[in-house]
């Protein structure tokens, strides 16, 4: 990173920390969404951007995480800070199954992606029929007004804002650390050419399993946050294909495999997406946001296939030139 990038990052950090004081309720809720998509995009990017494994079923991990933590809280009064461990464990277990089946039998590319979709769908149907989780009628957390109970994640948007901000910052640091580790470099090698990677000693299966389980665990955290923020969960939405696709958009638009791509993608997509949503309400033109998402995706694929971030970083002088 150049000096310029560090200064920009510091200014951004201060602004983000002060945001609840500076912004109104609506703007803050948009910023929360941006951070949420930056976070899940970052988690998904570990699998696709780093290790080159396409998952189109990441809603599975978010949904599982959310349901487990919410279920433990509503049924047994177990708080989310404890429930999160069970949530992560469930997502890691699911990720291990998907990963094992896919990687042991060397399913590559779209075939692996189909497997991830299938598992999200199985789970959706399962939850539709699971009374503990409320079935297709959904699961609801009790909404309490005017409390600020961090221990049970009962509170207003400011609390959830700071939480998702901390998560988004944390995952950025974690991803940077991962990328600069041996495992991270092995992922890149697998992404570029798995056969060549294995020939230089990369234990391909193990590294892919690490990618899917780490990614699933991190996505489950977002699921828990999401469940307690929105207070309701339905199989139809929590495990929806659309939810999985949404997760992939920020990193694809922002820049696959880059650290800041998912963040930039989330800002562009969610920011503009919100504008289109309100426009669509105002002018009674349903579906504007979806059309915009589709267009954005097409434009990126055509003109900036590496994503917005690498191009932006170059033009803003954020890149450090190799000596």
């Amino acid at each position: 990173m150049s000096r310029r990038a560090i200064v920009t990052l510091a200014v951004l950090a201060v602004l983000l920390l002060a945001a609840p004081k500076l912004l109104g309720g609506y703007a803050l809720s948009v910023l929360i969404l941006v951070l949420y998509f930056a976070y899940v995009g970052q988690a998904w990017n570990i699998m696709m951007g780093f290790a080159g494994q396409l998952s189109l079923g990441h809603a599975l991990y978010a949904g599982l995480g959310g349901y487990i933590a919410a279920g433990l809280y509503t049924h047994y009064g177990i708080g989310p800070w404890a429930g999160v461990f069970a949530a992560v464990a469930a997502a890691v277990a699911a990720g291990s199954i998907v990963g094992y089946l896919g990687f042991r039998f060397s399913l590559a590319g779209v075939y692996f992606a189909l497997l991830t979709i299938a598992f999200a769908e199985f789970t959706r149907i399962g939850f539709d029929n699971w009374p503990w989780a409320g079935g297709s009628g959904g699961m609801f957390l009790k909404v309490e007004r005017n409390v600020s109970d961090l221990a049970n994640l009962r509170g207003g948007s400011e609390m959830f804002y700071y939480l998702i901000l901390a998560m988004a910052a944390g995952i950025l640091v974690l991803c940077r650390w991962l990328l600069e580790s041996r495992l991270g470099r092995y992922w890149l090698a697998i992404r570029e050419d798995a056969e060549a990677a294995q020939a230089v000693g990369v234990p391909v299966f193990r590294c892919k399993m690490a990618a899917v389980t780490i990614s699933a665990a991190l996505t489950a955290l977002a699921g828990v946050w999401n469940a307690f923020y929105y207070n309701n969960l339905f199989p139809e939405t929590a495990f929806a294909m659309g939810r999985s696709i949404e997760i992939t958009l920020s990193p694809i638009i922002g820049g696959l495999g880059t650290l800041f791509g998912p963040i930039v993608g989330a800002v562009v997509l969610t920011g503009l997406g919100e504008i289109f949503t309100s426009a669509s309400d105002q002018f009674h033109l349903p579906g504007l946001k979806q059309i915009f998402y589709g267009l954005a995706l097409m434009l990126i694929v055509m003109y900036r296939p590496a994503g917005i971030w690498p191009w932006l970083a170059r033009h803003l002088g954020f890149e450090e030139r190799p000596k």
Partner: protein, 243 residues
């Protein structure tokens, strides 16, 4: 033949009834340069793949310093000390030259900084240092071949398998590669097994040559012996026009 670095004992490979390699045996002493030659489709690369863990032989064993390595996975074979290049080069295209080699060097080093240092010194030796920040996909073919060799060397192998690293190189580039390999072998005592069609390189490098045809070994000997061997002349090297 005990004490050989690499020993192939009666190895064979059958693909769904198709006999690709049958009962091939030869040994390479530590520190030697050995060539494997033969017509296209003779099974040379299949033999390499059995040494490097890509295929498990359907018969026979491969041993490295007395330890059986046939049946290992490629990454385990690399662990055991087998480094290899691919006939159709497989660089990590989207990564820089330096990163390509660093990934190889990470095999024996846990820290990225250490691996990068090791990679830098290998790049200097192979004359790729000026291009270290280029993306691998932007390299010319001769440089990609050198990159393959460099990445395999970075894993610090005991045995280096070179699959047609001279193919597509101009004669002067072949000479450079030959000089480099000879120097490497002399300095580090690295054992090298190469598949090669460029006879000029085989003659200059190899102490011994094994010839395969239709999956079977048909001759073995010094380059001079091989070039006079009737069977080899018949199936591979060819005859000169009678005067």
């Amino acid at each position: 033949m005990s004490g050989a670095r690499l020993e192939l004992a009666g190895i064979g490979k059958t693909f769904r009834g198709l006999r690709a390699v049958h009962d091939v045996s030869f040994a390479v002493p530590a520190g030697a340069i050995h060539a494997l030659i033969g017509p296209n489709g003779a099974g040379k690369t299949t033999i390499f793949n059995m040494i490097a863990g890509v295929f498990t032989p359907t018969a026979g064993t491969v041993t490295l310093d007395g330890r059986t390595i046939s049946g290992l996975r490629p990454d385990q074979a690399c662990d055991a000390g087998v480094g290899r290049t691919f006939q159709i080069v497989k660089p990590f295209k989207g990564l820089s030259v330096l990163e390509n080699i660093t990934i190889g060097a990470l095999h024996r080093r846990a820290k990225l900084a250490d691996a990068r240092d090791a990679a830098e010194s290998i790049l200097k030796r192979l004359g790729l240092h000026d291009r270290r920040h280029q993306l691998a996909e932007n390299l010319t073919l001769p440089d990609r071949k050198r990159l393959e060799v460099a990445r395999a060397l970075a894993t610090e192998p005991k045995l280096l398998l070179l699959d047609e690293v001279m193919a597509g190189l101009r004669p002067t580039e072949v000479d450079v590669m030959v000089a480099f390999l000879r120097e490497l072998n002399a300095e580090t005592g690295l054992t090298i097994l190469l598949i090669e069609h460029v006879m000029r390189a085989v003659m200059a490098l190899a102490a011994d040559v094994t010839v395969v045809s239709y999956g079977e070994k048909i001759a073995e000997g010094t380059p001079a012996e091989i070039s006079r061997n009737q069977a080899v002349l018949d199936v591979y090297l060819g005859h000169e026009e009678p005067a």
